[in-house]
């Protein structure tokens, strides 16, 4: 398994120089922002301002950020509920997330759909990503992701689509059909399969009989690799290589990430089925803390730099939350509108932020 840092963030023997062009600090920023946004959501949830469930990616922010970092700004992402990091990396403005979770009128779904179920199909020429949030039926985003990348290819765009999927969701028929189709058609689709040890309460051993989640891809004849998901540099390296390969005609690939869901499935779930020892072990490997250590040890940033970053992301998250809180709830008279074409009404476009979260 690919690993760049030692488990607690120190320099490992195999740790090369930071291999991406972008500043290492921006990983820290983005993963921190993802966590801060979710922390704010947790507060809002406790205040009963979030409608329905809240699904946290605590402990997984690193893989989500570092995989998305390997994409170009105009590529396509199909995140699942725990890919807050990917959304932040692609520059989705945090307010969008708060608006969605609070079911507000100006959320991308106008209060019609849950949490990160947002869709952005940029106008031609815009330097924006395609974002297609999930529907709840797990697995379905894989065929759709294949179609996005295939459609883009038909239209002459050199686009890669990236879809994330949980260990549990790899058991669905839709996952199989979609990835197999992508493999046969050499579609530039990157699937990030997240082994976070559980699907709701079900341990991965009841989900699959293979030792490593990336072996799911062996049935499709595509490259697959396992990576320490809490090592952002390693994740980036592996992903970048496979993204480049896909972009230049090499076809689909699957990246297995070894990580851990550090909270319950959703906020209502106290996750008592998770062995304490497992949590303790993974707490030491927290991707953000580890990367902090790495930045300090490599001299890429000082304590003060990082504290400033932390303060900035926290402030940003809370400002954005406030903006969303102040928005109105949807007007009930709009309920029947826009089921079919011709009856569309005011569609709030997803907003993106550029700086300082991405070079």
């Amino acid at each position: 398994m690919k690993r760049h840092m030692t488990r607690t963030g120190g320099r490992s023997m195999r740790n090369p120089a930071v291999s991406c062009q972008r500043s290492a600090v921006s990983y820290q920023l983005t993963a921190g922002l993802a966590r801060d946004v979710e922390e704010r959501l947790t507060v809002l949830f406790r205040q009963s301002k979030v409608i329905g469930g809240l699904y946290r990616s605590m402990g997984q922010e690193g893989e989500s950020v570092a995989t998305a970092y390997a994409l170009e700004r105009t590529d396509a992402i199909l995140p699942l509920i725990r890919n807050m990091g990917a959304l932040m990396t692609m520059g989705v403005r945090p307010r969008e997330i708060f608006l969605q979770y609070m079911a507000k009128a100006r959320s991308n779904s106008r209060g019609r759909d849950l949490n990160i179920h947002i869709v952005h199909l940029p106008v031609a020429g815009a330097a924006e990503p395609v974002v297609v949030g999930p529907i709840s039926m797990l697995g379905d985003s894989i065929p759709v992701a294949a179609g996005i990348a295939m459609g883009a290819r038909m239209r002459g765009q050199n686009m890669v689509a990236m879809a994330w999927i949980g260990d549990g969701a790899t058991s669905t028929g839709a996952f199989h059909e979609g990835l197999n189709f992508a493999a046969v058609q050499r579609i530039p689709l990157i699937v990030v399969a997240e082994d976070n040890k559980f699907a709701y309460s079900t341990p991965i051993a009841k989900q699959m009989n293979i030792a490593r989640i990336d072996e799911r891809a062996a049935a499709y004849g595509i490259p697959h690799e396992m990576v320490d998901g809490n090592d952002m540099l390693a994740v980036y390296d592996v992903t970048k290589r496979l993204v480049d390969r896909a972009r230049f005609g090499g076809g689909a690939a699957l990246i297995g990430v070894d990580t851990m869901r550090m909270q319950g499935h959703a906020q209502h779930d106290d996750a008592r089925y998770v062995p304490k020892a497992l949590l303790e072990e993974w707490a030491k490997k927290d991707p953000i803390a580890r990367f902090r250590t790495h930045l300090l040890e490599t001299g890429a940033a000082t304590e003060q730099d990082i504290d400033e970053i932390d303060a900035m992301t926290k402030r940003f998250a809370s400002d954005e939350a406030q903006l969303a809180e102040d928005d109105a709830m949807p007007d009930p008279s709009t309920v029947t509108r826009g089921v079919y074409a011709g009856d569309d009404f005011a569609q709030p476009q997803v907003e993106f932020v550029k700086s300082p979260f991405r070079s």
Partner: protein, 324 residues
Amino acid sequence: MAVITYLEAIRQALGEEMARDERVFILGEDVGAYGGAFKATEGLQERFGEARVVDTPISETAIVGSAIGASYMGMRPVCEIQFIDFIACCFDMLTNFAATSRYRNGAGVSIVVRGPCGGGVGGGPFHSVNPEAFFLNTPGLKMVEPSTAYDAKGLLKAAIRDDDPVLYFEHKFLYRRIKDEVPEEDYVVPLGKAAIRREGSDLSIITFGAMTHTAMDAAATLSDAGVEAEVLDLRSLAPLDREAILTTVSKTSRALVLYEATRTGGIGGELAAILAEDAFEYLDAPVMRVASVDTPVPYSPPLEAAFLPNADKVVAAAQKLVEY
């Protein structure tokens, strides 16, 4: 008699049937140690072991398909679909394999497929569906949906003992909100039989599931205004209790059909057709449908409130109906 919740009634039915008949077993996502997303199977794995309460991968088609296979071997599997919306992922297995097996080769499929349906809890478009109409045009399937704890227990027991595939929809809004008396001793509520929940002579409200309670609320309001509604709780959606439907409408001459699924293509159509065919002479007014509006289920509370039927909408429709 003990007073228990709708959810507890389901849990009791499962436990008692498993104790009564070793062929009964449960399979589904997170049904084991966790006890299911809504805790309907809580404690059952501890009591009956991992072999009889099986945590499956996220594979609705495998859940239902393997249940069919096990039932061929004489077992009586109860499948849990975590939210009934995901039954769409095994639509093929249910409608093509399970529903046709007995007719084709005399090979009965004694499975129950149960799960939480319905809205009103901010579940959004993928955790709120009422799927009965998806299956109503498939002969070979049975469908039930209880509105009380008593029925929840009795219908589930009947479904498990039945030799045909039964879809058992439990309304999640009722899980912990509804409590009623349930006998200590074993009983079943037979499939295919509706129940009068309230007598009345001015109109019939034909409904089921959570909407039964909405109908009762509306009936109380109507009664204050001097209109006496009879409320028929269908309980079984396939087969429908044609006799009970015709009996109430022959008495009141006015029918209001109330269901929570979206209006067009819903079960209300079938009910209207039955009434059109067999109650034409009794009817003094058009059959009215009150249902959700024709959109996906919206998530935001003000939208969902506008989307769903409620007592006010029923009262307004009923008043129109009696004034007709």
